[in-house]
Symmetry: C2
Subunit: 386 residues, 2 copies
């Protein structure tokens, strides 16, 4: 029932790291993430015991995965989600036939509510990671890598609750103990990295991260023990590194990868992981569930930072030909006009002036500076908005 | 040297069409498009005759493909591109080792310049589609489909110059004549659809389309003849349909597909293609070369149209607490504040007022209307900017 996701080579990342790097495109998995593997494995292990139904607490990928798995096995499914969950995610779980209950402020409240409901209903709680069957299911990615990657030398894998990392590590190292397994967390929420470093379980604080799928503040003792035994290292990636990795995967690999799924690429490009000189390093793109709005934001930000986009607010006298002169000036400097808007209505402008917002495409930061210089030299005010 | 690209099922598109639809993810091909197949086939056919080098005129995918193929076979490559070509595309060809020459205003000028240079230099012109070897190379997609899709019933394929459509049709129908092959053009530039309908070669006018890779105004007689013989039908897709298909592929299939590559999905979702009731329909996602800026634009537009994003310009008295009151109001109505900007500086506001631009995330069009109603009821002006 799971898709055997493709392994895709990436020249860009290979060149950047000086080693052969390939991508396990688990973002192309059904339901958009690796979570389906664990959910299906758990339902298979439960067998008849799941007939009263299954439930879980989750804000995202695990909820969709369990809903899909339950439907495939024809058992009822309830999902407890935070009241703040994106409407797209609750709708996706409902569309897969799950009963969605919005409760509490965060995932911990939801898991607690699910546990309570399990006790009273006879339905079975399927925890997102604190469960050997779930870990075993995620490990199937490791089995596929052993078959599909000839000279496997290292696997770089995202770490949230630790189910994916543990499962892959056990699957791979049981057959090939010399293969390095390196976990990656988001710097903003990295309790596993801290726990392995200090030898004590660390609980992370509240943190917002673009890799929201990894924002598990308190990993389970079970998975923490597995990771201590089976992982070679756990490193972190910063928010900027993760966002840039998402854009690179969009532009070069043509893949939509969520923040949590891009941490491996982020860590590789930032040099936070030492890749083996020989053999192939795999990074697992664990999921692709990210809405169009966030994609647009990171793509825009990237364009702006790369000097490929310039948004300028300026003003022109409200006389015929003044706007045309400004636009001619911009065109002469080689900038491409994407959008021009008058900011005249909705604002009281008492002088005979019109405010103009220009959105320009430029070739580089240097070019953007030249265009701005040209506008200023001609006597126009120009404020860079973004 | 080409990647055997995966065939991915899509529940969303299958449900929408009432038939099994799968995606041939040729956007994951090296260089980001199917064009590599034709370029490599041509170089293989030339053999020693290519040793003086190859050249072509192209604004995009074919240029990158030929540069890649030439490097792989260690022969010189020159690419003539329009002076208006996106800097990203000329840089990509140069990074692959090609000599890039910027000439002329459009692709026709570039092909003409390349032809002239071929005559004087002894290098070989590799036309993007008017060449039997190139058509044969694109046809390898058809051979893969015959092997990889058990109950192949129809193939929906983009049509620009016609090399891809002809090659796939010949490869598939030579072995399985009952399989339907349906071409799709962008409505804004559809000379092939018109030519097959009228029986006369039609030349399209200048047209801008989001499927810029298909904007071939005058297909070759050679490929037109092949398409007349081998295709069952050629339909068109509108700009809006293509943009929506691109967003759906991003959000659901997790794939970045350029406009030209999304026309098949667009036509299927718009009901412009009658899919066979039995068997599997394949649509070829022919390429994924689209820059982050365009992706951001279509994703934003989609969010706005779906009522998930609202940009409002309003004004508040320039007194303490007025902005806080507005934001509290918006929050009470359940809208998520993404961005708030003062539009005070850069514009002369002579009254004691501040203009405020709010970017809000909303759940639906209905919800967006409720939020706007709430702002108006509280006595604020509110202009929807987009």
């Amino acid at each position: 029932m799971v898709r055997r996701t493709p392994v895709l080579s990436s020249r860009t990342i290979s060149d950047a790291t000086g080693s052969r790097v390939v991508l396990k495109a688990e973002n192309l998995q059904r339901t958009g993430s690796f979570k389906l593997r664990g959910a299906l494995a758990k339902l298979a292990a439960l067998g008849e015991r799941s007939s009263a139904g299954v439930l879980t607490g989750s804000a995202g990928n695990h909820a969709q995965a369990l809903a899909y798995a339950a439907r495939a096995r024809d058992v009822p499914c309830e999902v407890f989600m935070p009241t703040t969950a994106a409407i797209g995610k609750s709708e996706a779980a409902a569309a897969l036939g799950a009963t969605v209950r919005l409760v509490g402020a965060n995932v911990y409240d939801c898991v607690a509510a699910a546990r309570e409901r399990a006790d009273e209903s006879g339905m079975t709680l399927v925890h997102p990671f604190d469960d050997p069957d779930v870990v075993a299911g995620q490990g199937t990615i490791g089995l596929e890598l052993l078959e599909d990657v000839d000279d496997l030398a290292a696997v770089v894998v995202p770490v949230g609750g630790g189910g994916l990392a543990s499962g892959v590590a056990i699957a791979v190292k049981s057959q090939r103990p010399e293969v390095k397994i390196i976990g990656v967390q988001a710097e903003a929420c990295a309790p596993v990295a801290a726990s392995l470093r200090t030898g004590e379980p660390v609980v992370a604080g509240d943190a917002l991260t673009i890799a929201d799928g990894l924002a598990v503040k308190r990993p389970a003792e079970f998975t923490l023990g597995l990771m201590r035994r089976w992982l070679d290292d756990v490193v972190v990636a910063s928010e900027d590194e993760i966002a840039e990795a998402m854009v690179l995967l969009l532009e070069r690999a043509k893949l939509v990868v969520e923040g949590a799924g891009a941490v491996g690429v982020a860590a590789l490009l930032a040099g936070r992981v030492r890749v083996p000189e020989r053999g192939t390093t795999v990074t697992v793109l664990s999921g692709g569930n990210v809405d169009a709005g966030l994609l647009a934001s990171i793509a825009r930000r990237h364009e702006t930072e790369a000097g490929r986009r310039l948004v300028v607010l300026t003003r022109v006298d409200d006389r015929p030909g003044m706007l045309a002169r400004l636009l001619a000036l911009v065109a002469e400097r080689g900038a491409n006009l994407v959008e021009v808007s008058h900011v005249r209505e909705g604002i009281d402008l008492h002088v005979r002036e019109t405010a103009i917002e220009l959105v320009l495409e430029t070739r580089s930061r240097q070019h953007a500076r030249e265009v701005l210089g040209g506008i200023a030299d001609a006597g126009y005010e120009a404020r860079v908005l973004r």
